[in-house]
Symmetry: C3
Subunit: 275 residues, 3 copies
């Protein structure tokens, strides 16, 4: 899809760009504390919020989110991902290099979609060396006490090998379903965006030219268009999403609400037979 075309191999990411993806919300002080710790370690860090509005503990959502934006960043950027229902338990924390991007994330599968779509995965390490952590670790806030100071030290040039050993195994989530069938193809809603658009798991090159759609068993009429403005406000349309998958949308409206669909809803495209 041309991702990375604007980047030159070996280009300098500039002074210490570090992004964040969390489910902390912006109304609580957690994001602000994380940034404070990071800036205390690396005052030159340049912070970019990917989002802090991941639904609480929604690993699948965060995994789709990373795949949709991380590949566009300059090579070598550091991305800190704290969607971490297992905080304080035995789950590991990973340092990974995927498609030239660097990430810190809990070992809960959140990196799966990025690795699936925008690999290769070249390095995965497990954070075991507490030397670069804060001296006291809250059992409920590793974002502040482990992720943030480690990120700061990485931005300062710390060798990732100092963080801990290479991981022999790490959690991968299964890809969202795409199943060819006798009478067509089955996929699922993989992501619902802010506008209520439904982004499915079906890659653009697998979309049949004509097909009858069912969502969770309900037949729906939706015209294929190239972009929203080609249909009237309120009309249900299908098109190719900005990351190259089948998308269902209501023009200037909310398809998720209209169809009662959500992540995991089954989308069935049946071949249309001429009568």
């Amino acid at each position: 899809l041309g991702i990375g075309t604007n980047r030159e191999a070996g280009s300098d990411p500039g002074p210490a760009i570090c992004t964040f993806l969390t489910d902390f919300g912006l109304a609580s002080p957690y994001v602000a504390a994380v940034k404070g710790v990071l800036l205390s370690v690396c005052p030159e860090a340049r912070l970019v919020d990917l989002s802090h509005d991941v639904p609480p503990q929604d690993i699948a959502y965060a995994s789709e989110f990373l795949a949709a934006c991380v590949p566009y960043y300059p090579l070598g950027c550091l991305h800190v991902v704290v969607v971490d229902p297992g905080v304080g338990t035995e789950r590991a924390i990973l340092y990974a290099e995927i498609g030239g991007q660097r990430l810190l994330a809990p070992d809960n599968g959140v990196l799966s979609r990025l690795a699936d779509e925008h690999g290769p995965v070249t390095v995965v390490r497990t954070l075991t060396n507490p030397r670069h952590w804060r001296p006291t670790i809250s059992a409920t806030f590793h974002g502040r006490d482990i992720f943030a100071p480690v990120a700061g030290h990485l931005l300062n040039g710390l060798n990732p090998a100092d963080l801990g050993p290479l991981a022999t195994d790490w959690l991968r989530r299964p890809r969202p379903e795409v199943t060819p069938q006798d009478d067509g193809i089955r996929c699922v809603v993989a992501f619902v965006d802010h506008f209520g658009n439904l982004i499915t798991s079906l890659p653009a090159n697998m979309i049949p030219e004509t097909a009858q759609l069912e969502i969770d068993g309900q037949q729906v009429e939706c015209h294929p268009v190239r972009t929203y403005g080609e249909a009237a406000p309120g009309e249900l349309v299908r098109l190719i999403s900005s990351d190259g998958r089948l998308e269902l949308a209501v023009v200037q409206g909310n398809a998720a609400e209209r169809l009662g669909a959500t992540v995991g809803s089954v989308v069935h495209l049946r071949h249309q037979t001429p009568d």
Copy 2:
């Protein structure tokens, strides 16, 4: 109103400040992708979010928003505006210089209020040269594929003349209504802020000293005050807004909810006649 007083003509805006105004929301990955592309082109860019919470496709809201904040930025800052229901259609994308600020925006009228209030408009160009766009253009995400790389190149010093020809015409929205009448003056609610305060279209110097107010035909009692703290919590007051217009507010409350008013609601100020 003293805007710009703190800026010196010819002052350096510092290293590459670029602001964003979109309706993408922060829960979706679109803002994050736009920033990634921009930073890949110009790693030194310094990003400022004006807002990503413009109501979906609400051009009038975005237009008021720009007029209320863009003039306060250092001269020469670049402002990227992506509230764009016509994305992927024949609508043009504009580069404009208004009151010393630089903007990229769809040609849908979103720059009208800034041009009305804080001009002059000195340059308007139409983006036709794809040389600085991403090589593949999604029909639904020009923010990522056109606006972001073009912004990055402008921050890197690209001559705006390279973007495309001077525009001979561009869309202007009518100013929100202000109509003198035999028995007073009519205006409309032009903006509803986060607190539910109603900012009208009536400039401070046209506010009658005493007047009876009607909102959408309903008579309302509201005392003139200088600031919220001059009345009791819960009281409906009228005052001069921070951008110099008639404002209706409920002290520590929500005037929009109290009055059932919204953008476009008609505010009628009738001269009070002594009995």
Copy 3:
């Protein structure tokens, strides 16, 4: 609690870090205007949002928020706090130095919790010298017209003594209640976070090992755990919060909703007597 351990005394906070805490929301243009004014005075400023989602006019919330994150910032950072129901009235604006951090805030008690927990308070000045304000001051928007330009000048190196005289007195809010009782200890919910977790006023070292809990007079069962992942989803637990206080939480759920509790709710821990 180890705050500040990653900071070295006298470390350079880097180029001009300035944070913001407001109740302006991000949908309105007020935050954007404040940043524009500040950048016009100090184009090199590096802006960090603590939050703009403080509930409107909620001074207690903002006070807890500051205490939970400001101490983690590099020494000498400037924090601009605009939660200011008294804007435009006789209330003063303060410049304060607390625990090595610098702050601008209205004199309404919002600095109390930071001063209580992370002092000492070494300097408090009242802003009286309008020389560094904008030339026209809106009665309703001191954030833009006073706080922002003063912050910019402080970042540029202005001596705080130029802002106004040392304050002889300033508003302090009482600490959230912690009351030992014959049969146990009483505290209150001091903060409700984004996840609905209830952070109480009771310091960790005062939590009895075993106790029966009542919230607003209702007895509740909740197991002590070290972190959320130690109990099943949906279970009510108590643990030590990330800032070292008694916290009540529902694993992957919302304790505030479950218990109908909010800031100020009384939490009573009764000694358990063996039967």
